[in-house]
Subunit: 330 residues, 2 copies
């Protein structure tokens, strides 16, 4: 690998993709040369033009098309990063095949989620594991990266409405605000801006080849989230506690709704959101301990010097009116 690491990324315009591109562009040692693979019809979209203006090489690629042009595109690429949306995970199979054929030295699949059991809790997590198995069958060097639950999805609504502009839309599909059980379930958090910075460290690190890596900033309970937000904002927040039975029923209801309107994006998102809430807020899967149990290497051990945005810093920014929300355009 030369001193400049050549990265090809798919999904650069998504929330995680943007965080990764920002971090790669900001890095001085090592330098990253970035190629963003985009659908041919999206070549001239504003987000792609903006990336191009910042020095990203934008190339059209059809992951569902013939293999040869995709293999050509990946010639000379050191690292492929897939930040594909969870509803397009099947596209990673031809991407991995092409990466193998092109001799890519590391494939980072679209894991990039909280820690979840590989099977039986969140449907899309199973697909991610299946994709890893495909990669492993190919013997393609890989890194499977999961990260903390974003600060940007952990901010409760304030009675004053001061942070409404930062909250994901539609709120129903992002029920991150209720408290699971008694509110004392621990969960690993990360600022979305840090996720890309972790990825930049990991893909330049030979210790992380063929490993699962878990990166996060701090471990919080939702009670502590509410306490910090109340203290920093000076506002008093209502709390809605959700029992295991209620969370389970929400998953079942969302699944029923999805079966009635298969493929409907809102129903799909609501189902995923209910499953994710059940995993992190009720089962308490999203912890460093569970990640270690599952075989992940911890980012805390790899990068003890990493300077992250704390949750309190994020809240302070948000209440000052700074910062940027996620999933604003739905």
């Amino acid at each position: 690998m030369s001193t400049t690491i050549r990265v090809a990324i798919v999904g650069a315009s998504g929330e995680t993709g943007q965080s990764i591109v920002n971090a790669l562009l900001s890095s001085s040692t090592p330098k990253f040369e970035i190629t963003a693979l985009t659908r041919p019809q999206s070549l001239h979209k504003p987000t792609n033009l903006a990336l191009q203006a910042r020095g990203v090489n934008i190339v059209p690629a059809d992951l569902r098309g013939p293999a040869a042009p995709l293999i050509d595109l990946l010639q000379g690429i050191d690292v492929v990063i897939s930040a594909i949306h969870f509803d397009a995970l099947a596209d990673e199979i031809p991407l991995a095949d092409a990466a193998k054929a092109a001799g890519v030295q590391r494939f980072v699949q679209s894991a990039l989620m909280i820690v979840i059991p590989p099977r039986g809790v969140v449907d899309f997590r199973e697909k991610k594991e299946e994709n890893l198995h495909h990669i492993q069958k190919l013997r393609l060097p890989y890194t499977y990266i999961d990260a903390g639950w974003w600060h940007q999805l952990t901010l409760p609504r304030l009675p004053s409405g001061r942070v409404d502009h930062l909250l994901p839309r539609p709120p129903a599909a992002h029920p991150s605000l209720p408290l699971g059980l008694d509110g004392n379930v621990p969960t690993a958090l990360a600022d979305l801006r840090d996720v890309g910075r972790y990825v930049a460290r990991i893909i330049a690190d030979p210790r992380t080849v063929n490993k699962r890596v878990h990166v996060y900033n701090e471990v919080y309970t939702l009670n502590r989230v509410y306490e910090v937000v109340e203290r920093v904002s000076g506002e008093r927040l209502g709390r809605r506690f959700v029992s295991e039975a209620q969370a389970r029923a929400a998953v079942d209801d969302a699944r029923t709704q999805l079966s009635l309107t298969p493929g409907d994006p809102t129903a799909l998102l609501a189902h995923v959101a209910a499953q994710l809430f059940y995993s992190w807020a009720i089962r308490g899967d999203n912890t460093p301990e569970y990640a270690r149990y599952l075989g992940y290497v911890s980012g805390k051990d790899l990068y003890p010097d990493f300077e992250y945005v704390s949750f309190e810093e994020y809240v302070t920014e948000a209440i000052r009116g700074e910062g940027k929300g996620v999933y604003q355009d739905r």
Copy 2:
């Protein structure tokens, strides 16, 4: 864990199960107290009576029955080992559930095979991975152990017929003798008697909790297998080389046959044997390097002092008329 480790084992009368029980009974430090769970109708079978005479506690257990008696049986057990046959892997689910409920400190599922990609090459391997995922969803402490291809399945037939009594029956279901590709595909070997001894070390070792562990004796190619057997026996052996296309066709043919006679044990075994051969003798999956890539810890690193039976020692014994075959009673 006390100085005596209390082990419950399922499948004690199988080839791997016997190796494990022998090793546990032979161990002085630590001591193992062994409970073998057996089907109620098998309680008085000669193999169980023989185990009982050697100090193994034989208890009837119905893995497909109610949970409560199974949980009771596992109270106070430190380690559960499943050496269940690959066609009964579904029984591991209630066993793992009961182990979790009983507070068992380590669950060793029936992996105990060569190194195979988790998906897409050997059907039963996928089921083993699914069982691991179930265990992980439960957060049950586990160790996933795979071992080298047995010496006992690697002995070619000699023209003199001197080792015929050691060869698995029926030979058609164990096509371990042809050479894959040019005969230079590496494969990790282990003597079946050592497999249990490795397991005894691993289950007393805190470093192996929540890990995949790969144990093997030596890495051989089949060309080297033939050379050693010719040298030790003084006999000249014919060699049959199998191409990738032939091995692939053998898998397809076996699958077709199985679909015509679903559930037929001979067809099932032939299909498994063809898939296994394709994995280790053609793809070359069964190597320490591939195990490391898949995230296994190596037994060579954990137990550098382990004294194993070399393949040449095994062959020398076999040709002297000593030793014991496997799968003799089919």
